[in-house]
Each structure stands twice: as structure tokens, then as C-alpha cells.
């Protein structure tokens, strides 16, 4: 088992956490402590300060092959971003295979008018888009709208809530092959087993939300869930490896 954590971050934020992961070395040390092999990483400045600052800080992750940087974007309308095609070229040149958005806090909508140029290309190149549910305008309404408007998109929702939200997300899994959730806050007792039994393991990815959550909680939940080993491996690392493998660089 080589867990691949799809949701890890570092950097000092605005509000102090009980335990900080300030530097990339702090992050690597905690991954080692937890036995986590690889991760999709973002810098907290990308959400809390400025998306470009966070993206630039993340360059230091290039020194760690086990860390896969996730680039944060905003709409291209205000010239803060390159044109959509150029953004894709940058991702390719930098070897970045996943993107992240915080639409609510960054004040935009993930809809065809605002982001159609980018999201169409993400879908065309199979680039996974990660969005924390609390950052999605309209919360689940917003998620449904994104999938209706971009049915071929690979959308990974993180922090989907600790109150058994299956009534919201199971229909999306049935309707859209590219809809995924991570394990952080997927912690209702028996929820993971029920999901795997009824919907399969294909739509679930191991993600902890470090440094906001203890990775060990979701890791032990996954390791001890009453599911078969094939499903456990898929969630722990197989599904995300497949998704990243579909990006043509």
C-alpha cells in the first residue's frame, strides 16, 4: 500500500492552526510520519493571499518527486491569467497535471461564461480540477451546475462534509464518470463501505486535508474499512494514479 494523498497543503495561514505545517520540509516530515507516499500539494497562499503567490511558492515542490504541485487559477477575463491555451501550455511545460480553484473566496463562478475557456480545455486534456466544497458557490447546487455544463470534466470535490452527504453526491457519481470525492470528511460510520458496495470504489480518492485534518484518521478509516483489497488500493492510490496518467504529459 502506497497511499497517495490528493489534498495536502502547507504554508502559514491567516489563522493559527493547533499545529502548523509551515514549510515544505514540515510537510514531507508529516507525510513520512503517516506513511504517505505521494501527494497533490498546494500552498495556502494560493487561497488566502493571492493565487499567483501561492503558485510561485509551490515551485519548491519540484525538488520532491513525491509531491505533485497543483496550480490554482482564476478566470482569464481580468488579465491576471494568461489566455486559456497559454495556461495549458504552462502546465505542460511545468509538468503540472492538476489544477485547483477557490471560486467563492476568489469571487468568481465556475460556469461557461466565466471559465468556459479553461474548463473546456481541462476536460479536453483530462486535467483534474480540485475544488473544496465550502469554496463552491451554491455548494452542491454549484457542483451539479458544473457537471451539467462540463459533463466530460474530471472534478474532484474535497471537504465534502462530515454529515453523510450521500444523497447529494451519489447521483453525481451515477451520472458523471468524471465526478470524484476525497476521503476528507467522508467519515460517517459505514459510509465508505456503503459507497464502495453500491457505487464502486472508482469515484473515491484518498485525501486528508492536511494541515487542517489529521491524515491518520482517514488513513486508518480506509485501512480498516470492510471493503476488499482491490477497492482499498484503488482509493488509496490507484484511482488518482489513473487520473494523472490520463493527462497527456
Amino acid at each position: 500500500m502506497k497511499p497517495f494523498d490528493c489534498d495536502i497543503a502547507y504554508g502559514r495561514g491567516t489563522l493559527a492552526l493547533p499545529r502548523e505545517i509551515e514549510t515544505i520540509d514540515d510537510l514531507v516530515a508529516e507525510l513520512d510520519h503517516c506513511g504517505i507516499d505521494e501527494g497533490l500539494v498546494w500552498h495556502r497562499d494560493a487561497r488566502e493571499r493571492d493565487f499567483n503567490t501561492g503558485n510561485q511558492r509551490l515551485v519548491e515542490a519540484d525538488a520532491y518527486p513525491r509531491l505533485h504541485p497543483v496550480r490554482t487559477f482564476v478566470p482569464t477575463c481580468c488579465e491576471e491569467m494568461p489566455a486559456a491555451e497559454d495556461f495549458i501550455r504552462q502546465l505542460r511545460a511545468d509538468g503540472v497535471r492538476a489544477v485547483r480553484a477557490f471560486p467563492a473566496v476568489h469571487r468568481f463562478l465556475l460556469d461557461p461564461v466565466s471559465c468556459g475557456d479553461l474548463l473546456d480545455l481541462f476536460a479536453a486534456y483530462s486535467i483534474p480540477l480540485l475544488v473544496p466544497l465550502p469554496d463552491m458557490p451554491g455548494i452542491w447546487y454549484g457542483v451539479y451546475d458544473v457537471m451539467r455544463n462540463f459533463p466530460r470534466l474530471t472534478l474532484i470535490m474535497t471537504e465534502t462534509g462530515c454529515w453523510g452527504e450521500d444523497r447529494y453526491f451519489r447521483p453525481l457519481m451515477k451520472a458523471y464518470p468524471g465526478f470524484y470525492i476525497t476521503t476528507n470528511r467522508l467519515e460517517t460510520a459505514g459510509q465508505l463501505k456503503g459507497l464502495v458496495d453500491k457505487a464502486g470504489p472508482e469515484h473515491v480518492l484518498f485525501g486528508s486535508g492536511l494541515p487542517f485534518n489529521y491524515p491518520g484518521g482517514y488513513l486508518l478509516m480506509l485501512m480498516r474499512a470492510d471493503i476488499d483489497e482491490e477497492a482499498r488500493e484503488a482509493i488509496a492510490h490507484g484511482n488518482i494514479e489513473r487520473l494523472l496518467g490520463e493527462v497527456p504529459w
Binding site: R19, H33, C34, C162, G164, G190, Y214, G217, M221
Partner: protein, 273 residues
């Protein structure tokens, strides 16, 4: 083998869950809500005992829920202990509910939910509850959240000061007002930090142990809400020593339970299960 590896490899140590519920709840999909499913889940996770109050004892006609609690306690003695729940919005029922259940074997304390019942813990309607808990030196689990609003850390302080014999469990540890909750646990020997929902906050368990001591931290999950393995993982992956983990997972709740059971028996410590 470390405690963490023990759990990772399918084993573990006994665990006591000090914050449980039972039965379905309207807002969420909850696959292990039935009593038999809960016992199976507890077996899976190595949870020796749980202290619970059914959802029906907190929302709707709570009298039904307290009956459900006692039935669960009687069906699984030693595995299930009960909190008698009270709803201060029906003050005429409170003395009768306490009279009916607090003498029952296996009913070890009282549960209150000030936010759902929209009644601050300092409200006069709760006075008979606090006084009974004080007289009987009971465990009292209160839902607590934040700094204020009726059951935040500032609300809990006056009752902690006034009722020093109550074993006061801060359910959720005044979620997100960690400073306030920890300060209460440090200042008052009879106040405990309970981990339900709080468990996920990275680094919090270390901080609780460092500042309040691991003897003041209780394992809890809201089960059947949250998978006990998540909380066990948070504790066993935390940067604390194994004796501290054992205190949280088992020893502290065992001590509180044994004290209560001994009082009920009017003699020495009983055999728990």
C-alpha cells in the same frame, strides 16, 4: 509494535466511546444507526463500551428516546451505557425523566443539548438538572460549541464553577474555541475535553495533552455518526506518547465509568463487562 501499527494491522486495544447516539437522524445518511449494526461496528473497531443517548432522546418526544436508551442498555449490558436526556423546553417532564432513569443499572449520566433545545446552559430551566447531577456526582455530557451562544466556553464557565461535583464532559470541546475549552479543563479538575468532531483538527490532540493533560481528554465519536476508526487514527497518529493515547482511548472513560458504577453499587469497583 506501536499502538498505531497495532490498529493498522487489524488489532488494537479496547476503546470506550463517551459520546454516542442511536437510531436514524433526519439530516444524514447513516448506515450503522440501528443498535445491532452499532454493536457490529463497535466489534469491528474494538470499542468495548459506548455511553449513548438516542437521537430520539434529543429531538422530538424525548421520552421515547430515553426508553430506547434503557432498552439498549439492558440488551447489551457492559457494552452500552446510557445518558438520560432532558429537554428543558418541557420542564414539567424533567424531574420524572431523571427519577425514572438515573436509578437504572447502566444509566451513568445525563445528556443535554443546549443548542438544539435553544436553551442556554445557564437558563433556570436547567437548574434541576445541574442540581441532580451535583447531588449524585454524575457525568453530564453537554453539547458545547464555540465561545458563546448558549453552550460555548463562556457559557460553560459559570456552571463549571457552580457545580464542582459534576463530571462535566464538554462535548465537541467547544468546537473551534479550543482556547476556551482547554482553559476550562485546565482550571477545573472535574471538566473534561471530549473529542467528537474536534478530533479531526490537526494538532489539537497534542495541544490538549500538552496543556490540559491526557487524563482530561475523552474519546468520543457521536457514533453512529462518525466512524470510530477515524478518531482512533487521529489519536494514534498524533505526536503524543502511547500512554497518553491509552488514556484517551480507554483509561479516562474507564475511570469515570467505574466511579459511577461503584457509586451505583454502593461499594467497591465492579467488573465492567
Amino acid at each position: 509494535m506501536s499502538l498505531r501499527d497495532l490498529f493498522l494491522n487489524g488489532g488494537g486495544i479496547p476503546v470506550i466511546d463517551s459520546h454516542g447516539h442511536l437510531g436514524p437522524f433526519n439530516a444524514i445518511y447513516m448506515p450503522e444507526a440501528k443498535l445491532e449494526a452499532m454493536i457490529a461496528g463497535m466489534d469491528r473497531c474494538g470499542v468495548e463500551s459506548i455511553i449513548l443517548s438516542p437521537h430520539a432522546a434529543l429531538w422530538g418526544d424525548i421520552r421515547e428516546g430515553n426508553r430506547e436508551m434503557l432498552d439498549a442498555v439492558n440488551r447489551f449490558p457492559g457494552r452500552v451505557y446510557g445518558y438520560c436526556a432532558v429537554n428543558p423546553n418541557y420542564p414539567q417532564d424533567v424531574p420524572g425523566e431523571l427519577d425514572a432513569y438515573l436509578d437504572q443499572p447502566g444509566v451513568v449520566g445525563i445528556k443535554i443539548h443546549p443548542s438544539s433545545h435553544e436553551c442556554p446552559v445557564t437558563d433556570e430551566r436547567y437548574r434541576p438538572v445541574w442540581e441532580r447531577a451535583q447531588d449524585l456526582k454524575l457525568m453530564l455530557l453537554s453539547h458545547t460549541w464555540g465561545r458563546d451562544g448558549g453552550c460555548g466556553s463562556t457559557d460553560m464557565r459559570p456552571v463549571a464553577e457552580k457545580y464542582p461535583e459534576v463530571r462535566l464532559l464538554l462535548g465537541h470541546s467547544c468546537y473551534n474555541d479550543w482556547d476556551g475549552a482547554i482553559a476550562l479543563a485546565v482550571e477545573f479538575p472535574h471538566v473534561y475535553l471530549e473529542l467528537t468532531a474536534a478530533y479531526h483538527a490537526y494538532g489539537l490532540i497534542e495541544r490538549m495533552c500538552r496543556e490540559a493533560g491526557s487524563e482530561k481528554v475523552l474519546f468520543g465519536t457521536d457514533y453512529p455518526w462518525f466512524d470510530p476508526m477515524v478518531t482512533i487514527g487521529c489519536v494514534t497518529y498524533a505526536h503524543i506518547e502511547e500512554p497518553e493515547m491509552r488514556n484517551i482511548l480507554y483509561n479516562n472513560a474507564r475511570r469515570l465509568l467505574d466511579e459511577q458504577l461503584a457509586r451505583d453499587a454502593g461499594q467497591g469497583l465492579p467488573n465492567p463487562a
